[in-house]
């Protein structure tokens, strides 16, 4: 039974004490510099619309990784928080004309609120039951979205305006929007890093490694799990809200189960429990989907193949393997 409660992260190195600047190790600091440089430079070479979408999914995957990588909880229903964040921000922007920073905050709040309720229900069970419960609850949200009028059914909410940042800067032009999305992503990324390296995050890692022991040390394990779940769901909501503003559309795809599978795939491929893995995983998966999009179901098939390959042969993921080769923590 003990194995059911621990994370599928048996390939990860144990948490080491923090060192370096702001808790980043030297390798991580270097990787962060590379990432920031890439975010600044890439829009001049690559289609910004694609990069913005990538950053939104990268934040989504980082939020998901907070839960699986650092608490060992596999949520198979993160589409619910992402999708609801997307819908609510779309509605707030279009019908209420709110400014984008408020839309993103509301999206995050809705994700967190939903996460509070669903997390409270789901953390009663661990392991695969937890995965099945979160999946089923997310499917309930999907059916809810199919039926309620405000999501506009099969069409989704279309033509979402981006409005003015703080009422001042027009985010209509893609380059303006790009810096906003990059800012949201970096803030989210640093927040997650901060959470992981806070005393709270250390307790989460302790729960992942040995839950009965954390309980016996006097920690209220369920409270820690729930707070981590709410944080993860809230950040997933932020990612969804930003995505809706970026692509001007919020649909049922955002809230359906394949989206939950996709974020699991991104994180698994990049490396569970690594800081940069979800970002790399999101980049690879999004690039693959963009190139395979004209070939119908080949997207689904290749996603399945990557899942199988990762589980059977490549459990540390891209960044995890890289870190092992270089003998650093990433």
């Amino acid at each position: 039974m003990a194995s059911a409660t621990t994370a599928p992260v048996d390939t990860l190195p144990p948490a080491t004490p923090q060192s370096g600047l702001f808790g980043f190790t030297r390798a991580q600091g270097l990787a962060l510099l590379v990432m920031v440089a890439a975010i600044v430079a890439l829009p001049f070479f690559v289609y910004p619309q694609f990069l913005m979408k990538l950053l939104c999914f990268a934040l989504f995957a980082c939020a998901f990784n907070l839960l699986i990588g650092y608490v060992g909880l596999l949520s198979f229903g993160h589409a619910a928080y992402f999708g609801m964040g997307s819908y609510v921000s779309a509605y707030a922007s279009q019908s209420w004309g709110l400014s984008p920073e408020l839309c993103v905050l509301i999206g995050g709040a809705v994700g967190a609120g939903l996460g509070l309720v669903f997390g409270w229900i789901a953390i009663r069970r661990a392991g695969i039951y937890f995965a099945m419960i979160t999946l089923a609850l997310a499917q309930m949200v999907y059916f809810f979205c199919v039926q309620v009028p405000f999501t506009r059914g099969e069409d989704g909410i279309q033509g979402i305006p981006r409005n003015r940042l703080l009422g001042l800067v027009d985010l209509g032009p893609d380059m303006n929007m790009y810096w906003f999305v990059a800012g949201v992503f970096l803030l989210g990324f640093l927040l997650i890093h901060r959470i992981i390296h806070s005393p709270f995050g250390q307790v989460l890692t302790a729960i992942r490694e040995n839950e009965p022991r954390a309980t016996s040390l006097g920690y209220r394990v369920d409270d820690y799990k729930l707070l981590a779940f709410v944080l993860s769901a809230g950040l997933a909501g932020v990612a969804g809200a930003t995505k809706a503003l970026t692509v001007h559309i919020a649909t049922l795809i955002d809230v359906n189960w394949p989206m939950s599978g996709e974020v699991v795939l991104m994180t698994l491929l990049g490396g569970l429990g690594t800081l940069f893995g979800p970002v790399v995983g999101a980049g690879v998966v999004m690039t693959m989907e963009t190139y395979l999009a004209p070939f119908g179901a080949w997207v689904t098939i290749s996603q399945g193949v990557i899942f199988v390959a990762c589980v059977l042969a490549f459990r540390a993921g891209i960044v995890g393997e890289l870190a092992r080769l270089l003998r650093v923590k990433l």
Partner: protein, 285 residues
């Protein structure tokens, strides 16, 4: 007015029962949640369609052959991939079978397209509906409910009352000990997976004349079946059968009373059960 919906609920309940039974059998022995169960259900329906249209084998032949063919496919999956994961965290089994489900669904979507293929019920089960006094019941639906019930009871009898079932239950409790008595446990595990997959395929053949045969038919079902499994708890075979039929009925009744909630009612019940009794109705904590 209400009766047709209740019958429809009972038919859905039959599929919930067959699928959650297969999941429970596999989980009991392998400790793997078979996410590919929905895809294998869909394969069962497609194999029946292929047998009819490519080989001229009618429904009754497909009812036997399709579970055997899909079960053999399950043997290959278990030997090649799933068996490598038994010593690892259970979540990896879930992720692997999720990937397999994506591959299977994608391949069928590429080959047969997303729109459904028609499959007619056999001549013996068409024609005038059965008059139950208070309602008319199409023969085929009656057959599905009865067949699913008989298969579930038969499975339960095999597991609870036969020598083979005794080995299975013993191996679930303590596999190395059973192996020490000379039972070939790895082979038993493989055959258990094949049997669970075969049950899913059988459900697929039964479903083929009711729903259109299409690549998405499994994934629509499987998430609801997960909720059924959480509600029932996977500890008891009979429990998962009862829960399956009962929840199908509840869903049918909801369609009469408050149609808007019929898609979500099972998930709401799951949430309530989790709050009141986290181990599930028939589960052991």
């Amino acid at each position: 007015m209400a009766a047709p919906q209740i019958v429809l609920g009972l038919v859905n309940g039959a599929f919930y029962a067959l699928l959650s039974l297969g999941l429970a059998v596999i989980f009991g022995m392998l400790n793997v949640i078979n996410f590919a169960h929905g895809a294998q259900f869909m394969m069962g329906a497609f194999v029946a369609w292929m047998l009819l249209n490519w080989a001229g084998i009618p429904y009754w032949g497909a009812l036997i052959l399709s579970p055997l063919i899909v079960g053999a496919f399950g043997v290959v999956l278990e030997r090649l991939m799933i068996s490598r994961l038994y010593k690892m965290d259970h979540l990896y089994g879930l992720l692997l079978t999720f990937g397999l489900a994506l591959i299977i669904e994608g391949v069928f979507r590429n080959t047969f397209g997303s729109s459904g293929l028609p499959y007619s019920p056999p001549a013996a089960l068409t024609g005038a509906p059965v008059d139950l006094g208070f309602m008319l019941l199409p023969k085929y639906r009656l057959w599905v409910v009865v067949a699913a019930f008989v298969v579930c009871i038969a499975t339960w009898l095999v597991i609870e009352k036969t020598r083979l079932g005794a080995y299975l239950r013993a191996a679930t409790e303590n596999a190395p000990l059973v192996q020490a008595f000379g039972v070939n446990v790895p082979r038993m595990v493989t055959l258990t997976y094949a049997a669970g997959v075969g049950l899913a395929a059988l459900a697929g053949v039964l479903a083929a004349p009711i729903y259109s045969v299409n690549p998405a038919m499994g994934s629509n079902f499987i998430i609801t079946v997960f909720a059924v499994v959480v509600i029932g708890g996977m500890g008891s075979i009979l429990g998962s059968v009862i829960t399956g039929f009962a929840l199908g009925l509840v869903e049918g009744l909801t369609r009469v009373v408050y149609p808007e909630a019929s898609a979500t009612v099972i998930f709401v019940i799951m949430a309530i059960v989790l709050v009141a009794r986290p181990a599930g109705l028939f589960g052991r904590a």
